[in-house]
Structures are given as C-alpha cells and as structure tokens.
Symmetry: C2
Subunit: 221 residues, 2 copies
DNA sequence: TATGAATAAAGTGTCGACAATATAGCCGCT
DNA sequence: AGCGGCTATATTGTCGACACTTTATTCATA
C-alpha cells in the first residue's frame, strides 16, 4: 500500500509510520490511550520521539490530545464517518475538476490503462486488489489535480482515517462492478476535459460509496 | 480577531500562537528560516517547546520542514493563492450546504442580525471592520455546518494561511458592497434550507473573491 | 586556477532527568 | 454510608546536554 513515496529518514518518522499503521489496522484499538512512557519502552526510543509521532498523528486526525492528560486513538462513529465522507466529497470532487483541467494526455492515457488492467482483475473476483485498485484510482486523480495543498490534505491528512474506517469495518466487498463503471465515467469526463461533469461524477461516486458503507455499518458500531 | 476560543494552557501553546501571529502578520517574513536555537533564546523557552510549535505550524501549512535541515516560513506565490482558494471553494461550499441543513432557526436569525449590523458599519465606510465582519460571517457558516472535521480543517488548518495572504498583500479593500450582497443571498438560501443554492452561492462568492485578489496581486508578487 | 577531499562549524535529532499537572485512593467529616 | 478534601502516584510538559547530519571552510592536488 506504500505508493506514497514516504521514506523514514529520522527515528520519529519510523515511529510515526509504525504507529499509524497499527492504528489504521486496529492493532492499537480505537479509543485506547497512548501512554508516552509505555510506547517509548515498547519501541526503544525516547519520549521526545514518541511525542513528535503523536503530534503528527494528531495532525492526521487519527488521535486526539488533551493538554496534561494525554492522547487517545479517535473513536469510530457513524457521525464521524458521514463527516469524513462529506469532506471527501468536497475535496475529491474539486480534485476531479482540477484533474480534468490539468492532467496531461499521457497521464490520462495511463489512467485509462490502469482502469482496463483493473477490469481484468475484477473479473477474477479478487476483492482485495479491488480495494487497492480503488485507492490507486482515487490517488491518481488527486495527484492529477496538481494542487499541492489539496494533495497534501488528502494523502497526508484524511486518507489514512478513511482507510481506518474501511479496514476496521471490513469494507472489502461488493459495489465492485458498479464502482468500476463509475470510475470509467469519471475518466471519460476527464478525457473530455469536462471539469463540471468530472466533479459531479466524482461527488456522486463518493456519495454512493458513503451510502453503501453506512448501510453496512448500522449493526457494527 | 480571537473569536476562536483558543486558550494557551501550555508553554508550547503560547509559543505556537505567538509565532503564528508573527508569521501571519509578516513580522517574521515569508521565506525566512526558523532557527530553533535562535527562537528558543528569543522566547526564553527550551528547544523542545520551539520544536513542538514548529511542528504545529507545519500542520497549518505555515512553515515547511526538511529533515536535518530546518524549517522555513512558506513562500507566498500566485499559484499557492489559487490553490488555497480552490480548497476554500470546495470546503466552504460544503460548509454552506451543511449549514443550510443543520443550523438552528435561532442561529440563522443571529446570522441575519449580524449581517444587518454589519451593513450599518459598511455605511460608515470603515474597511477594517469590513474585513473582520467578512471573516466573522464565514466563520459562523463554518460552525453552522456542525461538521467537526470540517470546522477543524478550516479554522485550525487553512484559515490562518488565508489571513496571511490577505494581510501581507494588503487586502482590505473594495468589493465591500458587492460582497455584502453576496453574503445576504447566501443567508437567504440557508434560511430557505436550500442546500444546493447555498453551496453554489458560497462557491461563487469565494471564486469572485479569488479573482478580485488575483488582479491586485499581479504586481505584488 | 579549479576541483575535490578532509575538516571545522552550525544546526537538527535524540536522550534522560526534573518540574508541573491531573488522576486515584485514602481519610476524616457530616 | 455518602461526600469533600487531602495525599500519593502516575503521566505529561519542559529543560539542558549529547549525538548525528548537513553545510561551509580549508587545504592539497591536478
């Protein structure tokens, strides 16, 4: 899943990536407390490193911190999920709009190829790669926006929280073929340089995805 | 300007607020380097406090950091401004949509009162309070969305960067009466619970504002 | 003179210890 | 027995020192 070119140069980086991974995958359960001393012994680093890692996790909205009290992993709630998807709808919609304007022809061709390759895998029915492919698709469009702030907010900011909801609610699942069709329509709109339609389709795509997840989630949280 | 209820409980808080203020207002010039040792002597706190403050400034996109090299205040560029306003358009548009859905009748009445009071000040021609009134208006709608993630991203995240552009480019200025009309239309849409229109009008409002600033900015950056 | 390696200087990254604050448990009081 | 205040403990916040990396300087060599 590391198609983000994130290389850990410092110890705080490594610890941050490790903690983020464990939180997203639920190894550190949501709602649990993050004790600085405990973590520093567990990872064999100083508390300063842990503190920096926790600060970064807070920036990703993966933990919440109170002064003089400590940090807790965020709780997963239906309201939080809805709020998150509203933000995705706004930001990724804008990303699709800008991608329709700013992606190069080669990049669009690449994206089309990705989609057909993806279609081959869909036929084999392997749902995990469906998940990865979906993330990859959205990631490319985000990059295609060429908006550095937008890219940062989505990839560094909220995408790991999205993954956290998906992983912990077990969201590898259906909606495969329908989502695939939606992806195709979006790419066509981008290829036609139709900014308005690209944004609209992306927003609908994310809204459908939200509704789908919401249904599943009723009896899980 | 402190209508955000941000109280500094810890030393790192105070340093962060102080540094943020100085960066936004240009006292620490954009593009300049932030030396940890230098700042720690200047503010009479330890480097650990400075480091935490700088980390938070990085989360706000006010400084950029490179491992083993240091942190610099972000450079103000025309491209950066455009990117920032694209994000505002997406997020505040969504905020207006959600505000039309979630604000209470009392809150809407309050907002209307704010607008008429604001109109009185516009007639006196004091442009500074126009600026404050504009920020206040947007802030209330953001809060009205009732989306915690959205509120956090806008108020903690990008709003200080928006202010930095405005302050350092000297953006107290015209567009007063037209902006006021736009505000009125937005409130009407919210009062009518017309989510679609509220979002559309807010997006247009921000787009106009962007175009206005872009024109002024040509010969400044 | 220009280039490159070796070295010195400065700055960031990391650490362990101390100080300040919040939480938990105990004791006395009503 | 229940409640409020106090003490003890544990955790976070802050500090100064050391280790490592980057950058600037110096010096030798082609």
């Amino acid at each position: 899943m590391e198609f983000f070119s994130e290389k850990a140069v410092t110890a705080a980086d490594k610890t941050f990536f490790q903690l983020r991974k464990e939180i997203v995958e639920g190894e550190i359960p949501s709602g649990s407390k993050l004790s600085e001393t405990e973590l520093s012994t567990k990872y064999s680093v100083s508390r300063a490193v842990i503190r920096e890692a926790i600060n970064r996790l807070e920036s990703c909205h993966l933990v919440e911190r109170k002064a003089n009290v400590g940090a807790r992993v965020v709780a997963l709630t239906p309201e939080g999920l809805v709020e998150l998807y509203q933000i995705r709808e706004a930001l990724e919609g804008m990303a699709a709009r800008q991608a329709a304007k700013n992606m190069s022809d080669e990049e669009i061709a690449d994206l089309t190829r990705l989609l057909t390759a993806h279609f081959q895998e869909v036929k084999t029915g392997d749902s995990y790669y469906q998940e990865a492919g979906d993330v990859d698709f959205h990631y490319r469009i985000i990059l295609g926006s060429k908006n550095k702030h937008l890219i940062g907010m989505l990839t560094d900011g909220i995408y790991h929280l999205v993954r956290m909801y998906r992983v912990q609610l077990g969201m590898a699942g259906p909606r495969v073929t329908t989502a695939f069709d939606e992806h195709q329509h979006i790419v066509k709109a981008i290829a036609n340089r139709d900014e308005e339609l690209a944004e609209l389709l992306m927003r609908r795509h994310i809204m459908y995805s939200k509704n789908n997840i919401e249904h599943k989630l009723v009896n899980k949280l």
